[in-house]
Amino acid sequence: MALLSENDRQAVRGYLANLTHRVTLLFFTQTIAGPETAQIAKQILNELAGLSDKITIEEVNFILERDRAATYGVDKIPAIVVMKDGGDTRMRFFGAPSGYEFMSLIEAIIIAGGDDSGLKPESKELIAGVTKPIDLQVFVTPT
């Protein structure tokens, strides 16, 4: 049973129609004894990948590839790292991307698949002045 309705699939296909770059979603998960949400995340990602030929899902075993997880700052699963043309966009999603998080993931894919963050020039100027690392964690809920 698909998680996305046919209407949703059409809508999402529309949103993803203008991607110009390859977006890879690195999906960190655990296949044995992992959290239930990992299964949901996997299903959502697979359905998503089916809606655009620019999107690929690469599944990474969190237990077997600890070093790789550490490189991306992944310390909990399920986790999605959004890559653009093989490079890290520094956007992450922790937890199954359902509800609110799903639309945020779509938006992240659209940003990654294009060339503009969509932020205002004033914002970009402020951000350009950032020279030390900033780590943002945005807590959300599925409803």
Partner: protein, 61 residues
């Protein structure tokens, strides 16, 4: 913001799946943004205010 700067990393965290973090950061309403483990921005704030808050809560401020 993460897309714009190599110094910024942004994660969306599902609060109900990671209760230890939700408790650690005292997340009682969403969205709640934690900056470098200490700064907090509550709610869905407009872009100007959000960017300014993040940059001023960050280590360059």
């Amino acid at each position: 913001m993460a897309f714009e700067s190599p110094n910024i990393r942004a994660a969306c965290v599902e609060a109900t799946e990671f209760m230890d973090l939700t408790r650690k950061y005292r997340v009682t309403g969403v969205p709640k943004t934690i900056v470098n483990g200490t700064g907090e921005i509550l709610g869905a704030v407009p872009e100007d205010a959000f960017v300014r808050s993040v940059v001023t809560a960050g280590p360059d401020a």
